[in-house]
Subunit: 227 residues, 4 copies
């Protein structure tokens, strides 16, 4: 990643769709290095010109997607309005989930993580429908939170196909306990994490992975958080 070419200000929208395409492919490379996408699992979407959503194809090695390989879908219903030239590509199965987050939470960008830390954080929920995360400064990295908040991250059950997660996710997004959440953990699977634009989605993605790792590490040690 070249430091001097990338815009530094979080929260600023990319200025052109081509910039967004470059940023999405670059972030998939970063996330691959961190182990958050692998084995063709995981993905990302971001804003296209004209209100559409740039969507990675399914079944491909995500860290190798080219800027001309995104689909553009209409977030109102997920139908494809523009497709890449390569006829072998099909749109990501995340489509319906991504569109739901865009519609219900005004997300401009959504990351789908296959990180082990997300799976292990989901295990912490046990029979509950959420994990409670507290006592961490990094909570301030989530829009609207302070480091004094107890943050409830919803955990939903995994289903055979990602599209079938929509029903559970719809319920979770309507649940007032989770109004402040920008992530949903899917047990045994990973997480969906979003933000108002690609930069906020990146920040939230990094913050939630830190929170997952911290929650798992503290549980492993069976220690109380003191102080």
């Amino acid at each position: 990643m070249t430091i001097d070419e990338a815009p530094a200000v979080g929260g600023s929208p990319s200025r052109t769709e081509q910039e967004t395409r470059r940023l999405l492919t670059e972030l998939l490379g970063v996330f691959y290095t961190k182990g958050w996408v692998s084995g063709t699992g995981g993905g990302i979407c971001g804003p296209a010109d004209g209100g559409g959503l740039l969507l990675a194809p399914t079944g491909v090695h995500k860290e190798r997607i080219r800027t001309d390989e995104f689909f553009t879908v209409d977030p109102a219903d997920g139908h494809v309005v523009r497709r890449p030239d390569n006829p072998d590509l099909r749109p990501s199965e995340c489509n319906s989930i991504f569109c739901l987050a865009v519609r219900e939470r005004e997300a401009g960008s959504v990351v789908h993580s296959h990180a082990l830390s997300a799976v292990l954080a989901g295990d912490l929920a046990g029979a509950a429908d959420h994990v409670a995360i507290r006592d961490l400064e990094m909570l301030k990295g989530i829009r609207g939170l302070t480091n004094r908040d107890v943050h409830l991250v919803p955990v939903i059950r995994n289903t055979p196909r990602e599209a079938e997660l929509v029903e559970q996710l719809t319920a979770v997004l309507a649940d007032p306990r989770f109004a402040g959440a920008f992530a949903v953990v899917v047990a045994d699977h990973g997480a969906y994490i979003w933000g108002a634009d690609v930069w906020e989605a990146k920040r939230h993605t990094e913050v939630y992975h830190f929170l997952f790792e911290a929650a798992v590490a503290r549980r492993d040690r069976g220690e109380e958080r003191s102080r």
Copy 2:
């Protein structure tokens, strides 16, 4: 790794042998970074023109292999049909194992991993001849599986030389319990992981390493997978 030059579509065969050679050397570099090959251990093979198999040399630092340093072997019997110019190079000890996977499972590419996670996953088997992996979305990354499957990964005993693993591996590949497996763990050693072509072998390699890490992490915590 340059994102824009690499083909993105999993499952597409490389178009030329030279592309395959470049991809194999690149993947060895990626696997070295992830700790899956190191200390000259581990390796990879892929399809040569004319039905042969490109095979890395033995005893070399795998992340530094050059595209002109592969042997070409006949997978029918493993004999060398073309060798690199460098007279010091000898073909990898994986030869007979790789050829077996090619013949018995129609593998186009096989990865030999020396990852610690594969060794620790092998430890989980105890006296059994397999590890059962379940309750993970990443199972869908293995051809033919759903995330509801209980996937049995065979675990065989280590032997003084890799060629001597052939007898055990032959039995495992004929065992109907393991018909859906694209990997064999060798206890105290690592794993062999394959696919129809290099891209599928890469995807399976990433997926199985995730499964190994998840199985080990869940065992460590002694938790039941709920939900």
Copy 3:
């Protein structure tokens, strides 16, 4: 990171402010890779020409800061004497903490880490106000210490805003038990680590993270350090 262009001698001040700016941005990239800054959290400062302090902006992805995006502040009182052209940037919340370390410890450079290992090391303190680290050669990497020393690293409570940490930090810096410390852990948060110049701050940052990881690993295993 290009090996041949970077000055190698630890302790030598950078020769120009522009070199310092380049080094600070490069180090943020290295620290991001290691997980010590992420999610826009963490930061760094270093010496500007004329006695000022180069300070990264707040709320930005730290590994992507450009060399022209630093603020220059007066360490006597933290007020901004020069600001970057980009009007959206605001100075880092670390400002008052960084200036305190500069004034009270003659620090030329301060790193703010959001590493999980720092948080977990803080957990080790329990109700105490410090963590004691001993029996490690890496202690010699901290100016003034031998590997026979028992090094007390102060641990302070986290507060809603970083500026409010100043009161606790002032007390810690005046405490003779911590006279040899070049780091303060903030529980549930991370650490501030400093040095006489950027190179010493880098060395101390790497050493303290090693010490945090070692202390946590040894505590997890519940082993006594023998020998």
Copy 4:
């Protein structure tokens, strides 16, 4: 690291001293990424023209050493026969240890690791003077070993200065139990690992770190190695 430019054949000596200098600096960069050298700790030496030993300077950030910053010392007694132009540089404290390994074991290259895994492996020794490593294929990566061997790695006590380790190391190198070892762990400190040339030292370095990590991971889980 560029794959196509690096010589691939382990065991082949570099052809020129300048190549050796480049390789030593490159390996320090790789080891820094892996966490084996950090905080100016750790180091490496390799063969100079005319039978001398290229030695990194002390107190510098090892991953940033330039090819013109090595000292050349006479391994017979460690005295400096050629020094870099930079007058601020002093030869590494590893000098006497490195020379000892060169003289007593005909090492052509020695790596000094500050890896946490080496420290934790040293902890496993308890009151004993060695760690026994067995049941790992990676043992074959050490010259002369099979995967059926029980490999004894000597563990010596740490001392205030590295030069003072010489007495213990001299005893260890004369001990027939450790005749097959290419590494010595220094408790609370790290390890010295060597080979006949830089490539073998690299291979041994990677193999021993794998063995350290495996031994620690298996001890943590308290499992017996079965099969």
